[in-house]
Assembly symmetry: C2
DNA sequence: TATTTTTTGTTGCAAAAGCAACAAATATGT
DNA sequence: ACATATTTGTTGCTTTTGCAACAAAAAATA
């Protein structure tokens, strides 16, 4: 997420916040939370990486969203109408703050610094979340695996301000993120290399067109 | 969008708002706005229906979002990284309020009723937008045309609290919305009928499974 | 460090989706 | 009400994608 807000600048103070806030730690592979029914749960990722994933009835895994430091997530952003299980899984060691959204999105008058800062930045965090989701939709609506790959690479290149960049997760995960079959994606990556659209050195990609 | 907020309950008062607000009318087929660069444009649809559409280089049209009464949209929710044109097109006669986001999302102290109501409801509107976008992502990440159709029908059925419901746009648009080829979608619809998953009478669909 | 697990790269074959084209039915505008 | 434009329904053919399976490489863990 591209925001000036960095949770770690004030995290030291979170315990003095008037609201019930839990700070929890998770190891790689653990489930941080599952979206079951609206409990107004609102989370902030303090450190680590995590994915919101869905497993469907055919065993397909889809990475719905990818979270890194200072990203927000939680059931409060979902109205569950799906039959499928939605899980937030830790991809590395994670620290997470867990709030109830009702408690946090209004300014309080108890003068707790952490609460004040959070509610000040909340609109910006939420706006950023919307732009992220819109970019995600842009990607997912691309018709072919090739367009999805190039679209995603463009995004990463723009972020990195460089034609060369690193794919932030495994190729297996990338396929789940773009919602395509892994072997079909590998085939397409090979074609993109052969046709000189990209240069690829394991996870390092360079765009060869302007 | 599923919110208690209905813009038409207070729209009479919008001219007394301290902020520069424009109310514009559009006819079916007209472009309400195009997303070019971040101008912090924030719009509310007062009446009518509109789509956010993208035309790609192959001439494919994609309906990114569908808006109806009281829905919010605008460049402020986008950070433009795409090469493609993004347009909001009126699907019927539309009335739209156009604001600058900066001017509206903070409470003012000039006592203008309309501003007060808007900023009161804004968090709810925005949260609803996020849940809508998440549902959209849920749909788009489905792997097959069949799953997209059934996923979307489930959603409509849930909204309507009924196994029978009406598709809110043309089948041509539905294909553009689900990001699939129209003829392939028609084929799949026929199969769903033949296999007794659904009953279909033009735009009226009934789900035949529980 | 050795062992186990996960990821990467690849392929042949099957299934699904896209493309193009057309007639018939509807809807729209004048 | 008429003429025009759009949508619907359909199909044959082509291309793309998905599935299954496997060996090699890399990463994680005991």
């Amino acid at each position: 997420m591209t925001t000036s807000f960095n949770i770690n600048e004030f995290i030291y103070d979170f315990k003095n916040c008037c609201n019930k806030v839990q700070k929890k730690s998770f190891n790689r592979g653990q489930t941080i939370t599952s979206y079951i029914r609206n409990r107004n749960q609102f989370c902030i990722l303090v450190s680590g990486n995590a994915d919101l994933v869905r497993y469907d009835l055919n065993g397909n895994r889809t990475i719905i969203e990818h979270f890194s430091e200072s990203d927000i997530f939680g059931e409060v952003f979902y109205s569950i109408t799906t039959n499928n299980e939605l899980l937030v899984e830790a991809k590395s060691k994670c620290e997470v703050l867990i709030y109830n959204y009702q408690d946090i999105h209004h300014k309080c008058n108890k003068g707790c610094k952490f609460h004040e800062i959070l509610s000040e930045y909340l609109p910006e965090l939420i706006l950023n979340k919307i732009t992220d989701l819109n970019m995600r939709i842009e990607l997912l609506t691309k018709r072919t695996t090739r367009d999805k790959l190039l679209g995603y690479f463009n995004l990463l290149s723009t972020k990195a301000l460089n034609k060369t960049f690193e794919i932030p997760f495994s190729l297996t995960d990338l396929a789940d993120y773009l919602s395509v079959d892994r072997s079909a994606m590998m085939r397409e990556l090979k074609l993109l290399k052969d046709e000189n659209f990209i240069k690829k050195d394991s996870k390092k990609i360079t765009l060869l067109y302007k």
